[in-house]
């Protein structure tokens, strides 16, 4: 973006509320900040109404902190819990109908490429498991098939959280939830594997308990999407409210999942691997 859209006009700067001035002075736009700098800059989400201990909001917060160029990032989302934090971000955020996020993003990305042929505008989809894997699965996959240069980030809480805890396609097999009163009777949808088959150039599976890796993956995904094609990140963001555990246990649950069904995984095409090597100079990110 032109830095000017968050530069207050000189003669009116004094009337801006403090949180806006804070954002102008200490926000991440146009600066090279990342997850490691959290706590030292004004985050682009001001506040949000998520439940205490919410994994989704932590996922949103970490992913937003890892955006390589927030000043030129547009987020497309869908109804669901993540909406509530995303709508408070100092970014352009769109939310239309349930499940159509990757279609909206396809149109948006292409139009921005027409209007700004010399600029990188990062179009990032951030949506829940219901939006991406159930109701929007075809639109998700088709944006990958078509090779759209967008990044798709799933905030996977393994449930329809916002409507009160129904089974989703990403719920683990056997889990008893609303609309699966006898337990879910099929496996978690292998979206990650599908992403590879469907033509994503890069994919990663990570939990909120590994913020550094999460940051690295988001960064890679967005930079690769700019150049090469679709990328996919699946973030495990457990939900204390609907999965009925204490809010303080969110990270413990995420960590356990990281050792079980949510072990860190990455895939990339050869071309993507080359780009990553060039970009990062072979640095490895290790989580404690």
């Amino acid at each position: 973006m032109s830095k000017k859209i968050i530069t207050p006009v000189a003669s009116l700067a004094h009337i801006l509320p403090e949180d806006y001035r804070d954002l102008v002075d200490r926000g991440p736009h146009g600066k090279s900040v990342g997850i490691k700098d959290l706590g030292s800059f004004k985050e682009i989400t001001e506040e949000h109404p998520h439940c205490a201990g919410c994994g989704v909001s932590l996922g949103v917060r970490l992913a937003l902190a890892a955006l390589p160029a927030p000043e030129d990032t547009l987020v497309v989302g869908t109804p669901g819990c993540s909406f509530f934090a995303l709508s408070q971000t100092a970014l352009n955020y769109s939310n239309t109908a349930f499940g159509n996020q990757n279609s909206v993003a396809s149109g948006l990305k292409r139009m921005l490429s027409i209007r700004y042929p010399d600029k990188d505008k990062d179009v990032v989809v951030m949506a829940g498991d219901g939006g991406i894997a159930d109701i929007g699965l075809d639109m998700t996959l088709h944006s990958w098939f078509r090779g759209e240069k967008i990044s798709t980030i799933m905030l996977d809480n393994e449930v329809y959280g916002n409507t009160g805890g129904q089974e989703s396609g990403m719920s683990p097999e056997g889990q008893v939830l609303h609309m699966a009163p006898k337990g879910k009777n099929f496996k978690k949808i292998p979206v990650f594997e599908m992403a590879r088959t469907a033509g994503c150039v890069y994919g990663a599976k990570v939990t909120i308990a590994s913020p550094k890796r999460l940051g690295m993956a988001v960064n890679r995904a967005i930079l690769l999407a700019r150049e090469l094609g679709p990328t996919y990140i699946q973030i495990y963001t457990p939900c204390p409210t609907n999965m009925k555990f204490s809010p303080a246990d969110t990270l413990r649950i995420a960590k356990e999942a990281g050792r079980a069904h949510y072990a860190f995984e990455e895939f990339m095409t050869e071309e993507a691997a080359g780009r990553i090597a060039a970009m990062e100079g072979g640095q490895e990110v290790q989580e404690d």
Binding site: P49, C51, A52, N162, T163, G164, G165, T241, N242
Partner: protein, 229 residues
């Protein structure tokens, strides 16, 4: 609007405080006492600590109208943030209060600004407060019982239902079986009932809580009234 005996109650709190459950218990109790009543929650999205409001209409005759109570006789404020941070569907929190109406606030002293107090005095309103969360924590061992303490305050303030009906209604609500709570409420229910070995123990504690909260109810003098400035 007409002569029948009619009390409309608005309960404003934050998600997880049990305003919806309190409304349910109160409405059911009125129903058990042979009165007519309806209970309406108004959810935004179900988020813990997001504003939550519920409405109870109690009347001697059949109540038809639905939706939020715009013109309440009684307003119950379950959380100070409703007043201090505007976490409320209605701004200001007393908007629409009928003349001669009452307000019950969960706090150890009312948090209302002088200007608002003057406005309430003009309305001939009464303001009460009760430290419901503190009492709930002390007596029932959990802040999750704030709603029951608020019902205790209400009972001491105005006897809209009998104590027996309130008790019966709580047994029904927490006793399992018939009642079905929606997602988030169900999760919290588990947390509440999980604290007690038996439902009967929980009900006993709740009755104790109602009494304790009732005893702690205090009326706050408004400017221009007896005891006020």
């Amino acid at each position: 609007m007409n002569a029948m005996e009619k009390t409309f109650i608005r309960m404003s709190g934050l998600g997880g405080q049990g305003a919806v459950t309190a409304a349910h218990i109160l409405g059911s109790a009125a129903n058990k006492d042979g009165l007519e009543s309806t209970v309406n929650p108004f959810f935004g999205a179900e988020k813990r600590l997001a504003p939550a409001e519920s409405y109870v209409r109690i009347s001697s005759e059949k109540v038809y109208e639905k939706g939020e109570v715009l013109y309440p006789n009684i307003i119950m404020i379950f959380h100070p943030h409703v007043i201090t941070m505007g976490k409320c569907y209605t701004m200001p929190f007393f908007d629409g209060l009928q003349e001669g109406g009452s307000i019950l606030i969960n706090a150890d002293a009312p948090l209302v600004s002088d200007e608002d107090l003057r406005h309430l005095a003009d309305l001939k309103a009464k303001v009460y407060y009760v430290p419901a969360t503190d009492i709930a924590t002390k007596v029932a061992g959990s802040e999750l019982s704030t709603n029951i303490a608020m019902l205790g305050g209400l009972y001491a303030m105005r006897k809209l239902t009998s104590m027996e009906a309130l008790k019966e209604s709580m047994v029904e609500r927490f006793g399992g079986g018939k009642f079905v709570a929606s997602g988030t409420t169900a999760a919290l229910d588990d947390a509440v009932t999980g604290k007690f070995a038996k439902v009967s123990q929980m009900i006993e504690k709740n009755m104790e809580l109602i009494a304790a909260a009732g005893a702690a109810l205090t009326e706050f003098p408004l400017p221009g009234t007896k005891g006020g400035e």
